[in-house]
Symmetry: C2
Subunit: 336 residues, 2 copies
């Protein structure tokens, strides 16, 4: 840093004590005379003073930084949640962003970083994994964070011992399956995403549950990344097989979008040659054609809820888990 104007300089210039200067620049309001107040304000303006937020945080023993950790800010799912969370954090705090690039170590690293930053709260969005050792370490780190007075909110599975916004992946995927069978689909494929991601697993299981309730089961399941390219690749692989299923469920929308690209690329058509369904209802869907059948999750609400819990002043007597249900929306991509 360079030469910063300090409060002491402002005080000196205004001819008042440090304490008085502090009070007007920030203090508990109206306990300082109008004359002095003005002098201080003038001095601050002339000098171009800006309070040092670090020093304030040290002196006060707290900060108004909220940490947000997401796997990938380019993925619409996360950017919607982030934007919504931002909305509620912004008026009274600053947001520190961390992206893990979908790597677990990063997740852990950010918890530590945010703790070092004495962030007042931490919002961790993204799926938990089957790596129990990692989940345990993460939960421990989070417990320490909480113990030191911070608030933590998870968006995803309830595995961290923190307040959680919990999408009902399983139940909603099941609803989707039922609706699809209802619509007359007979054979199914699943683009299952990574086997290690709980979100992906839950959705696959829910979907399978729904099918089996109607005496069916997926004819084919392909695993891949939880991304657009993952969907593309998985669908390509699936289409190379002998018999294509009539309807393919991708465990999230970006994968479904990639899958549709794969279909198009082979000169096939959705839904005539193969129907496609996704999950999340990201805003991007407005512009995919044919319109994509999916499960609508109130993404923005989820972001706002998470942020609200994070910003809550209450020490939070009890851990809160907010279940969020999704709604199956049938659109053209699964028309028969």
């Amino acid at each position: 840093m360079g030469s910063q104007v300090t409060l002491a300089q402002v005080a000196q210039r205004a001819g008042v004590s440090l304490a008085t200067a502090s009070r007007v620049v920030n203090g508990s309001e109206r306990m300082v005379g109008a004359r002095f107040r003005e002098r201080v304000l003038a001095a601050a303006a002339e000098l171009g003073y800006t309070a040092n937020a670090f020093a304030q945080a040290v002196a006060r023993g707290r900060s108004d930084v909220v940490g947000l950790v997401v796997p990938d800010i380019q993925d619409p799912y996360f950017s919607v949640i982030a934007a919504a969370a931002m909305e509620v954090v912004e008026p009274s705090g600053e947001m520190m962003l961390g992206t893990t690039l979908r790597r677990q170590e990063q997740e852990l690293r950010y918890v530590t970083t945010m703790r070092a930053r004495r962030a007042r709260a931490l919002i961790m969005v993204g799926s938990r994994t089957t790596d129990n050792a990692h989940t345990r370490r993460l939960a421990e780190a989070i417990a320490e964070f909480t113990a030191s007075g911070g608030r933590v909110v998870a968006v995803g599975q309830d595995k961290l011992g923190a307040d959680t916004v919990l999408p009902q992946n399983r139940a909603s995927a099941k609803d989707l399956a039922l609706a699809l069978v209802e619509r007359g689909h007979k054979t199914f494929g699943v683009l299952a995403g990574p086997d290690s991601l709980l979100t992906a697993r839950d959705r696959v299981e829910g979907f399978t549950d729904g099918l089996s309730e109607r005496g069916k089961r997926p004819n084919v399941t392909v695993h891949s990344d939880f991304t657009r390219d993952g969907g593309y690749q998985a669908m390509s692989e699936l289409l190379d097989r002998r018999s294509k299923p009539g309807c393919v469920f991708a465990v999230n929308d970006v994968m479904a979008i990639g899958a549709m690209a794969a279909v198009r690329e082979r000169g096939l058509t959705v839904p005539d040659d193969v129907a496609v369904a996704g999950f999340d209802d990201i805003p991007t869907l407005r512009d995919v054609a044919p319109s994509l059948t999916t499960v609508r999750l109130p993404l923005a609400d989820m972001g706002r809820m998470a942020a609200s819990m994070a910003m809550a002043d209450q020490p939070g007597e009890q851990r809160r888990v907010i279940r969020v249900k999704g709604e199956a929306i049938l659109r053209d991509s699964t028309k028969l």
Copy 2:
């Protein structure tokens, strides 16, 4: 905040001085005996110590926070740049995110906030406007930030007196126009975005320049927001007119995507009924059909360049302005 373990506690437990503890936990390495080092490390681990980054920043007189200010993190243009910037900031610093929701006051507010945070650098991405008063105020705030030792990098127009990553909007839009005429398009419309946004203006002007070099000019120009919905609305308006142009240029891709939706909605087809071109080449384009003609900007590179300049240690003798040229890419949406 709650009860945090302090370095003093660690020192006491390890039976060493504060200074020694500080040295091992962070210090300039290997100036402390192995015995003591181990004792301190052990104590720190047992107590679950994490350094207080605020206190460190105060004591050191500098921080490693980099502020990133974007209009809207949901817009692919910005999220790509943000993600790329993140990539280079991450290894050695933390990123504080600000979204202005496309409001100027917010922009100004963030500069102040970042200054309060004693951010080591500030990256401001987004278009400048025709509001000269605001631009001047912003430039002043930025000058103060710089004067106090911070680094500022703008991505957009070179109006802030800061290091700048400057896309060649005008020249590239002109190239696009020439290419379109070359391809045989005769009549043109322009979805011009907001009249107050310099980026939008430059692109409109460049496009118009290109046309006039071929003895043509836009038959119709419609202004709207710089967003998907803005594009949708503007195109709707345009299609309501008597005679549609054969080719419509939207000043950015998200607008073009909205415009294509408007076309589709009226039962018309791109490019048969009306050709559409955009600008930016956001990743999302991979999945729009028909594929969209646009100007490719190296978005990720721009983000990385901005971050690199921001992270540079050098006091930066000279202000740097990096010009980035775009490349016109003709795709199906303007096929004749």
